[in-house]
């Protein structure tokens, strides 16, 4: 067998072995990973709303979901400095005001955008209780202007959008 063909076959065999190792590990861990992610999302939702919320009971329409007992959940992606800032927020009242904001994921610069990881204090904590009009007057964060402005705009736009009806509240 020519060297080139033998090398190709050898490399192909190595690729197959790696793929098999990955497939077996992924299959063995899939259920646990799904359960962990579901649990974490439920915990995040409950922390936002202040009471137990099951993600499966929510009906999302264009990034908004009505809550049984009043209030709305909002979610979206703001265009940050280094990519999408995925956020989740709870709002209530008329006009709707933010109750709490939680950043689910971002790629902003560590150190400079650390305020995104602290939902209850600092800049994010200061957004609690603000409606869309009041949000427009909030100062951006020095050194993280693009990040904070993008998030502020996205949250304000989400607050003025129509709220869908809550899902099945009987259960």
């Amino acid at each position: 067998m020519p060297d080139a063909v033998r090398a190709l076959v050898g490399f192909g065999a190595l690729v197959l072995v790696c793929a098999a190792v990955l497939a077996v590990t992924a299959a063995a861990t899939r259920d646990e990973i799904d359960a962990n992610r579901h649990r974490q999302f439920a915990e995040t939702l409950s922390a936002l709303v202040g009471r137990a919320v099951s993600p499966t009971d929510l009906v999302w329409v264009a990034g908004r979901a009505g809550l049984c007992g009043g209030g709305t959940l909002l979610r979206g992606e703001a265009a940050g400095y280094a990519g999408a800032i995925r956020w989740l927020a709870a709002a209530d009242g008329q006009p709707p005001a933010l109750r709490r904001v939680h950043i689910i994921g971002h790629q902003e610069t560590p150190g400079i955008a650390d305020f995104l990881d602290r939902p209850d204090d600092g800049w994010l904590g200061g957004l609690h209780g603000l409606d869309a009009a009041a949000l427009a007057a909030v100062d951006t964060v020095s050194g993280a202007t693009i990040t904070s402005r993008a998030l502020r705009r996205d949250l304000a736009a989400a607050l003025v959008a129509p709220v869908p009806a809550a899902g099945d509240c009987a259960s």
Partner: protein, 220 residues
């Protein structure tokens, strides 16, 4: 190209921990070493993940060394290392989720760790499976010793605790392993921050050099 090794099994293992330690003798893997060693549990989790990837990839690369074409050896090594890194990520996310959320970033970058690629290129691709396994185990143990030593010191001085959060790795039974130093707060919070990591790593490096890298004295 270096020749296949002629060292005994015990020497291969011992050298990885002492004279050829990746952290204090070769200064490899310093990014995760400094970033994750703020607590013992983080350090231990990264040490286990790195050991799994290093031992798995070295063993597989050694077994496949005769079929890996020389011109494609680096892509092949990276493929194997990336495979084991992904497996480590999946296992951590499945069975130690809270810990995964803390150190996932540094587990992902194991794939670029020079320590692992270096052992694949310098040893596993030129030696048998058993020797490569021992070499990887020794190197992994050396990295783990450095990582855990740094984690213990920084947690103790910077946070005033020891073995806190071990339940994230070993289950609820390990929650009682935590020890808290008496007194008000940690002795030196700086140790838990980034500058403390550099200072502690420097001291560790100096200690390692003093113990295992004896420079011959020059005559006056």
């Amino acid at each position: 190209m270096s020749e296949p090794h002629t060292l005994a099994a015990g020497t291969l293992l011992r050298q990885g921990i002492t004279a050829r330690n990746p952290a204090w003798a070769q200064l490899l893997g310093l990014c995760p070493l400094l970033a994750v060693s703020s607590s013992t549990v983080n350090a231990l989790a990264l040490a286990l993940a790195s050991a799994g990837v290093l031992i798995g990839s070295s063993t597989l690369i050694s077994a496949a060394r005769r079929v890996i074409p020389d011109f494609a050896r680096l892509p092949a090594f990276v493929l194997v290392i990336a495979t084991f890194t992904t497996c480590a990520m999946l296992l951590l996310e499945a069975y130690a989720f809270e810990l995964y959320l803390r150190i996932a970033l540094f587990v992902q970058i194991i794939v670029t760790n020079c320590m692992i690629l270096g052992r694949a290129e310098q040893f596993a691709s030129r030696n048998g499976v058993a020797a490569s396994f021992l070499d990887a185990a020794g190197t992994a143990a050396g990295f783990a010793v450095a990582l855990i030593a740094l984690g213990v010191v920084r947690e103790l001085i910077g946070q005033g605790t020891l073995f806190a959060g071990m339940d994230l790795l070993f289950g609820p039974a390990a929650a009682g392993w935590a020890v808290t130093l008496p007194g008000d707060g940690p002795p030196l919070r700086l140790a838990a921050l980034a500058p403390g990591a550099f200072i502690a790593a420097g001291l560790l490096l100096a200690a390692g050099n003093a113990l295992w890298r004896r420079t011959p004295r020059r005559d006056p």
